[in-house]
Subunit: 459 residues, 2 copies
């Protein structure tokens, strides 16, 4: 599927609004108009994206929609310190985003809303002709995943899943080595989200991190909505940080695909203990006796069409150092990560290149030597960006793909299949570990689709 077709089929919609990749000016020598952006959700994550966009001279901020007036005020404050003008805001209620989407002067939107709103925000944006940058999470239901694909196939409006860990420097260096064949034929991969979120899931309602034991109505920022999922659900709630990087290495939806998964959940003891032991909590605190459903450690095994196995771990409610726990293993190499992406935080081994010595090497030398061209070229631009520079790359890719009229490297099929891991893992756990088929959202196209992620040194 070439972007050309997309342009043809949508160009009838009108030349006034740039609702499609700005192919009109991408074909000429330079940019003739900026990419006009709306933001649905300007909480801390939306503000990260806004921060990235404010550094650019090829975009224009048109509008924000968020019912949280404190967050809207922060976003306006950021804007006021920039060279961009003020913009329209929609914060009267939960549905202000519809007014934003009704505008005809917005090309693309960043969706950084609570998980349960992603589907409405994403699909309504596509239906209104706005290209979508969709923040990560897992789906609320499998039906949502089919809905994203259906909406895309009906509208042809592109949606990119904004998985920043795909752009982590060590991850991209390893991808580079995978593509060069250093790992031989891939056999097994691991990743996940192993991050102590207790201080994020609970706060005092004012200060976002480590400030208390409240959540929901009494919480602030993520504690307002994320914690509820831990109360009611039990599964691989946040699969994309793990599966995204693996997907690019294992060619998921592009020559390979996920066939089925089986999940298992440990008991849930971390969050209650946190509340009981917190200075603002204690045994008598009303939240101390809540029964959280989400197991502290949820592991998910995934079988791929080409015979590889993948393993994801969701581990966010216990004390622990941050570590997404990547492992990439093939017939000629193996990589094991134990940190947050610094180049010395991992072990690597290539039998042939290391003279069969059966000894792990620290990753530093290898990750430096095989630094991905995209990082090599853009490291300085990414220096002050969020999450160790990853945010620069994922946001840059979104804008550059629009400007250069090329397919997003992480598209609706990736989004649907990655998001699907969540409801399927929940079902597997409810059914005592029963394996669950993962739909082929590409409807067979995975066999022909090619893997373009990281193939450019520009985006």
């Amino acid at each position: 599927m070439k972007r050309r077709n997309f342009i043809k089929s949508t160009s009838v919609l009108g030349a006034g609004a740039l609702i499609l990749p700005n192919s009109i000016f991408a074909k000429t020598a330079g940019l003739q108009r900026k990419v006009r952006l709306g933001f649905i959700g300007v909480g801390f994550r939306g503000q990260n994206h806004l921060n990235e966009m404010l550094k650019r001279n090829d975009v224009e901020i048109i509008a924000f929609a968020d019912p949280d007036k404190r967050m809207i005020a922060s976003a306006i404050e950021m804007l006021s310190k920039s060279s961009q003008k003020e913009c329209q805001t929609y914060s009267a209620d939960d549905y202000g985003y519809r007014k934003l989407l009704a505008r005809d002067d917005i090309d693309a939107v960043f969706v950084s809303s609570p998980w349960s709103w992603h589907y409405r925000h994403g699909t309504e944006a596509m239906r209104s002709g706005k290209i979508v940058a969709m923040e990560v999470c897992g789906a609320m239901s499998l039906e949502e995943c089919h809905g994203y694909v259906k909406t895309y196939e009906e509208t042809k409006v592109p949606i990119m899943v904004m998985e920043n860990v795909c752009y982590r420097r060590d991850v991209m260096a390893v991808l580079n080595m995978v593509k060069k064949g250093f790992f031989g034929e891939l056999v097994h991969g691991q990743g996940g989200y192993e991050h102590d979120l207790r201080g994020v899931l609970f706060n005092d309602g004012e200060t976002a991190y480590n400030s208390g034991v409240e959540f929901g109505e009494k919480g602030f920022s993520e504690a307002k909505w994320r914690t509820e999922h831990y109360l009611k659900r039990n599964g691989e709630l946040y699969p994309t940080h793990g599966i995204g990087p693996l997907a690019n290495m294992f060619d998921l939806n592009r020559g390979n695909r996920m066939l089925y998964l089986q999940s298992m959940s440990s008991k849930a003891v971390g969050l209650s203990k946190y509340i009981r032991e917190h200075e603002k909590g204690g045994e008598q605190h009303p939240n101390a006796n809540l029964s959280f459903n989400q197991g502290d450690v949820v592991t998910t095994q995934i079988k791929c069409a080409n015979g590889e196995t993948l393993m994801l771990t969701h581990d966010t409610s216990l004390q622990r150092p941050y570590n997404l726990g990547f492992r990439v293993q093939g017939t000629e190499g193996i990589w094991q990560d134990f940190g947050w992406g610094n180049n010395e935080q991992g072990l690597i081994y290539f039998e042939k290149k290391m003279d069969h010595d059966h000894r792990w090497k620290n990753t530093k030398e290898w990750l430096e030597k095989y630094d991905h061209p995209l990082w090599k070229r853009n490291a300085r631009a990414a220096e002050k960006s969020g999450h160790g520079g990853m945010d620069y790359f994922v946001d840059n890719a979104f804008i550059e793909c629009i400007k250069n009229d090329v397919e997003f490297p992480l598209d609706v099929y990736d989004l649907a299949s990655w998001y699907a891991i969540t409801p399927l893992s929940e079902l597997s756990i409810r059914e005592g570990g029963a394996p669950q088929n993962i739909p082929d959202f590409t409807n067979g196209k995975w066999r022909q689709r090619s893997n373009s992620f990281g193939s450019s040194n520009k985006y």
Copy 2:
């Protein structure tokens, strides 16, 4: 169940042969007679045990049984260099072990035979009143596991599962910290057997390691029989190195137990590639086109009665550094291993003891400080023993438990449940990942049984 009961119920069998823990002299001031040993299987693993026994002055080597005359000759050679006299050998055919078991001057046997012989050797030994030191593997079938338990319960002749990794120095130091409560409430554990065995599974029929691509009749040592399992089976073939250490930490069969498991297997490409690329193999070698059934990486998720999850990995047919991949995670601590047990080959984190800094520490300082009393006391004795000293401890425990008239810390219920992982994982994989119940071999006694492993600093 106290050993006292065992003594009472078996003492009628006759006072001539010391077929039970030598409680008769254990009750007196000192040893009055040595523990008399037979060896069923004197291949390299049996020779390791023999080597340990030859260092002791409290045992006597009575007989060897092994159909492999080359291995018998090696064992005799070892004996001749020791202070022990020569001993009887049974090597005429596969059933020489029955003549060994028929003797009335043997107290205990070491079984170090090919996996498919363990059941016959172990249960027939129990039925002949010989206390059993059983080498590790997984069962050929679930029926075998029930059979070990039935045989033990009928004969009351003890059998110890000789899992040496339970005695690895880092593993025991972590166990020590677990028992001290450093990890809080345990939630998740990982381990397995991640060891490149390609050079063991194939050889030239003469030299055991890395010497060729033959196996079965044309192979030597383990290649003679182990490789066949990779050809025909697909599962967690070797679960005990992983589950043993975890069992002691998670109180399996002693206040906790494994409820069910689900396994997944990757494709099998490592062994064929090895044969094709070996200088003595090649594309034209008859073994190059064999289709091995055993997946290169098999992962197994296990749910425990107390809500914890365990994960085992069997990964023995790809290039990789040795690493059993232990992880022990609780509400207050987490340990991650990445080597072969040296004290600096791991990462550890205890939130409260490390001032909430969210940074892994190298294990060295912690493993040294909390070195297990058993190791602290016996490190010098173990210095020249196999597998980094582990073999000293496991073999010493076997003999000392007999002499001191105490239950083996790793007993028939451990053996049955650990061995059961293999046939159940095979079934799970055959059934596309379907979860499989793990029988309660203790028949409810797991609730009362207490965990004695490592509780003595003598054995």
